[in-house]
Symmetry: C2
Subunit: 208 residues, 2 copies
DNA sequence: TGTACATCAGTGAACGCGCGTTCACTGATGTAC
DNA sequence: TGTACATCAGTGAACGCGCGTTCACTGATGTAC
């Protein structure tokens, strides 16, 4: 898609440069075309300005390439959420995490789609387990739920189920708004800020 | 996939029989393979026991075929929700709609995926508009929200936004649980009933 | 009642396409002597 | 300092595949005479 610009071949130790370029190009194509299918070996090679076989020097497989793209997105989400979860008040922290999560999804809809709305079979082995529960993003949410329950201000019907279930429920709620806005952008949504504010008020009231 | 069984050619006026068989086969493939991509003209023709070109006597296009499959799912969802929304108490009705909705999604995950988790570009023209807001399913939800607000028991922060926003929010919540359970079946979910019960209690508390 | 004919559901072969992947290769770069 | 060589990033051509779609066709069916 992007016309190939002239590129110099990488020097001896700099093989990783192309690797980075490949990943960046793949992400770019994903965002531009809004289609996972458009991220083909050939399209990526073309965007980088290189022939298809040279991709295979850096990734064993198309799947492994996509896996890495996906992993980068998870890392990015982890990063922004970890940076966000800094308040002492767990309820404020939940609120902040939720806002940042929704924003992440709407800013990178195609990444979000692959991460949380697609079948995971294109991703190697224990991808799900590693990416979901093990991530610092979910870890932060879980820990924040624990702290919220510890305050005693969480409704018993929720608190009694434990922090894990509470975290899954909160995640479900926030994911619901995010993914539905991505999947059905032409639904009768109100202004984004109004929507998020009302939604979080909604969620908060459900907890406390 | 399904080995072709011997089939008799349809009689003069019975051309619609094959049409029905095609749609049924397409739905079956969708459920069996859990993959939208697997529903190819060739695979459907094979399952029905017919050659690919004969599909074109009944559908102008692959897209139109998928569109019809999708339309059937929407009709089915409309039907079960309309059948469900019968209580006088709007809050009980909301609860019942939500339960039926989640069940529909988990019973037909691949249908749900196409309906609410995919890009809509494979579907013709004003599909979204027609399918979303115009459907009796969403109509029922909206109307039930109106009735709920009319009771005066909905929290002002929600009620003041109006029934449309309230409906979108409730939908977001229920969609969140449904779609996340479909997309991440190996996440640490509790027992389904516990999950749904707690979730709906959660939602209800957010409203009132 | 028997025959010629129009209809039209379904066939068989083929098209062009983009895909993931492979293979033997080229030729610039850094290193050893 | 100069030359031969090993390394290895990237190439060019080709493979087999499944796809959506097209085309001219076949042959069973119902109807008109």
């Amino acid at each position: 898609l992007t016309p190939a610009t002239a590129r110099k071949r990488a020097a001896r130790g700099e093989g990783d440069l192309l690797r980075e370029e490949i990943l960046t190009a793949a992400e770019q194509i994903l965002e531009d075309t809004a289609s996972e299918d458009a991220v083909s070996i050939r399209a990526v090679a073309d965007a980088v300005g290189v022939t298809p076989p040279s991709i295979y020097r850096h990734f064993t497989d198309k799947n492994h390439m996509l896996f890495e793209v996906c992993g980068r997105s998870f890392s990015e989400l982890d990063r922004v959420i970890t940076e966000t979860a800094v308040s002492d008040d767990p309820f404020e922290t939940l609120d902040a995490i939720a806002r940042v999560y929704v924003r992440f999804g709407l800013d990178h809809p195609e990444h979000y789609r692959i991460m949380f709305m697609s079948r995971g079979d294109a991703t190697p082995e224990d991808f799900d387990e590693h990416m979901l529960v093990g991530t610092s993003a979910f870890g932060r949410l879980f820990e924040t739920c624990e702290r919220a329950i510890a305050t005693g201000r969480v409704r018993p019907a929720v608190a009694d189920r434990g922090a894990l279930i509470m975290a899954m429920l909160v995640w479900s709620q926030v994911h619901g708004l995010t993914s539905l806005m991505i999947a059905k952008p032409s639904a009768p949504w109100a202004d984004l800020d109004v929507m998020v504010d009302t939604f979080l008020d909604f969620v908060r009231a459900g907890i406390t």
